[in-house]
């Protein structure tokens, strides 16, 4: 099947080209060499139908996952940067779901920082949408752990993504849902948790210390080590806040389904 492999490799490259088949000597020659063509449609035009579909399909798929980014950038800028993304990162997964996994990183330096943040938020929503289901933790298990909870490792819900953003871009999604204009917001450090509750996607701003604690827990640190890590980075006036709030935060995380299990040593 060497001949078939070579044919498919050549056609694959031609169909992913941003230039129409007939505007490129190489792809036009390929079309004439392998595609039969017919009086109504030349070989190049036949191949071009598939090349156009490649871009229509993939632009639509990305736009569906990044509706606020499309609104914020405008379609032309979105199309330009996404076309460049497809050239730099051709699809390697059988599933369109994975298509834009690297788009937020790709946008770094190519779009405004707030647009990059918005892309990170929208990709986190894609991840949360079909993350693994898990039963809620039994609050009694947490209570029963007693002092041993300090040494427990905490399993966060698979849908959770912790985002440290330079602007409150979640407000853009909220305005879009309300049918309002979607200009990118002014810079303001924002700590966001994106998650799924039952089947519904949601996000919440959290204090930076809570974000840091969740981040440490997500890396597998036992609870006490996670809190020590956060405390070591705290400004002196924040230590009291951390001590006063962590119990309430933890109970809220359990209630919200952000914590799925505790594993005692």
């Amino acid at each position: 099947m060497k001949r078939l492999a070579e044919l498919q490799r050549e056609l694959s490259a031609a169909l992913r080209s941003p230039r129409p088949i007939w505007q490129d000597d190489g792809t036009r020659a390929l079309a004439d060499r392998v595609v039969r063509g017919q009086p109504r449609l030349s070989a190049a035009r036949q191949l071009e139908l598939y090349r156009e579909q490649f871009f229509f399909r993939h632009l639509d798929a990305v736009a569906e996952d990044f509706p606020a980014l499309v609104e914020a950038l405008g379609w032309d800028a979105f199309e330009e940067v996404t076309t460049a993304y497809l050239a730099a990162h051709p699809p390697t997964s059988f599933s369109l779901r994975d298509l834009a996994a690297r788009l937020p990183d790709f946008l770094e330096g190519r779009a405004a920082p707030a647009a990059v943040d918005l892309a990170r938020l929208e990709w986190a929503l894609v991840e949360a949408f079909d993350a693994a289901d898990a039963p809620p933790i039994d609050a009694a298990k947490v209570t029963a752990a007693g002092d041993a909870l300090d040494r427990a490792t905490i399993t966060l819900d698979a849908s959770l993504t912790l985002l440290a953003l330079g602007a409150p871009v979640h407000e853009v999604r909220e305005r879009l849902a309300g049918g309002e204009a979607t200009a990118l917001p002014e810079a303001r450090p924002t700590w966001l948790v994106v998650y799924r509750r039952e089947l519904d996607l949601d996000w919440r701003e959290v204090p930076p210390l809570a974000h840091a604690a969740l981040s440490a827990l997500s890396r597998g640190l036992p609870l006490s080590d996670a809190l020590d890590e956060v405390a070591a980075r705290c400004a002196p006036d924040e230590l009291g806040t951390l001590e006063a709030e962590i119990g309430g935060w933890f109970r809220q995380w359990v209630a919200d389904g952000w914590i799925r299990d505790v594993t005692l040593p």
Binding site: Q8, S12, Y50, L96, D130, L199
Partner: protein, 276 residues
């Protein structure tokens, strides 16, 4: 001897805008067809609704990106996920397309036509057998619509399809709209195509709408089934017999009622042309 699968009756493609209503209202339709890849996920809404629909209806899994005609090796991760889904859904059969969709390691997410040669038919048949052996459920391949043919072609499309399904010993998902579209685009007789495929291997038929672009037809799945395709379906029923048939709509998805109305037309035509 081809495998036997049940005539499930009249089905509709399950699409996101209809999930809630299908589960809540249990509309009058015999079965649903699901795009396999949309449910090869870890959790959340897709699997929740798939399980809920499965409680009431038979579900058939229809894939779009197995790359059966590709020269790249079949993707073991894809196969493993499909097998897990098959175990979850327990479909009467699963299907994918007679096409290639990835080359040189890159996916195109399209249903691209193959050079219609005996060598390629045997290559595809080997891969279909690999899928069948893995999934352990009856498996069918669907004829695709196409906008181009190759200098290398040495068989008619229906000869090519027949070679593959016979060599693979698999089922055929006969897409009547695709036959109509390709017949127009390539200037062959759609009825000769329907007459020429092995009828005993047809597990299922598909119906969908297309777009007339003047010089060619596009298989857009964004319109109701056109009158000419209904006529062709009548012919298919007469020649092939009574087979599970589903309506596909993938863009400009209308209210569920519109699809259910088309499903009722299918039911009537099946009864008229291929009575029990």
């Amino acid at each position: 001897m081809p495998q036997r699968v049940p005539d499930l009756g009249v089905g509709v493609g399950l699409r996101v805008p209809h999930y809630r209503r299908v589960v809540d209202e249990r509309p009058k339709v015999d079965w649903f067809e699901c795009i396999s890849e949309n449910f090869m996920v870890d959790g959340g809404k897709p699997l929740h609704f798939l399980d809920a629909v499965r409680e009431t209806y038979p579900v058939i899994l229809h894939g779009v990106s197995m790359n059966l005609g590709g020269a790249d090796p079949l993707d073991p991760a894809h196969l493993a996920k499909l097998k897990a889904l098959v175990r979850r859904v327990e479909p009467a059969w699963a299907s994918d397309h007679l096409c290639w969709s990835a080359g040189g390691g890159h996916h195109l997410h399209d249903l691209l036509p193959l050079p219609m040669t005996l060598e390629v038919a045997r290559h595809v048949a080997r891969r279909v057998r690999q899928v069948e052996d893995t999934l352990e459920v009856p498996f069918a391949i669907e004829n695709v619509s196409s906008y181009m043919t190759f200098h290398d072609d040495e068989l008619s499309e229906w000869e090519f399809v027949s070679e593959v399904v016979e060599a693979a010993d698999c089922g055929l998902l006969l897409d009547v709209n695709n036959v109509f579209v390709s017949a127009f685009n390539h200037g062959f007789d759609a009825r000769a195509y329907l007459d020429g495929v092995p009828h005993e291997r047809v597990f299922q038929m598909h119906l969908a709408g297309h777009t007339d672009a003047g010089t060619h037809l596009l298989d857009t799945h964004d319109h109701p089934v056109r009158d000419e395709v209904w006529e062709l379906y009548r012919h298919a029923c007469r020649r092939v017999g009574r087979r599970a048939t589903s309506i596909e709509r993938d863009d400009h998805i209308p209210e569920l009622e519109e699809l259910l109305a088309e499903a009722e037309i299918v039911r009537r035509l099946r009864d008229e042309e291929a009575p029990r």
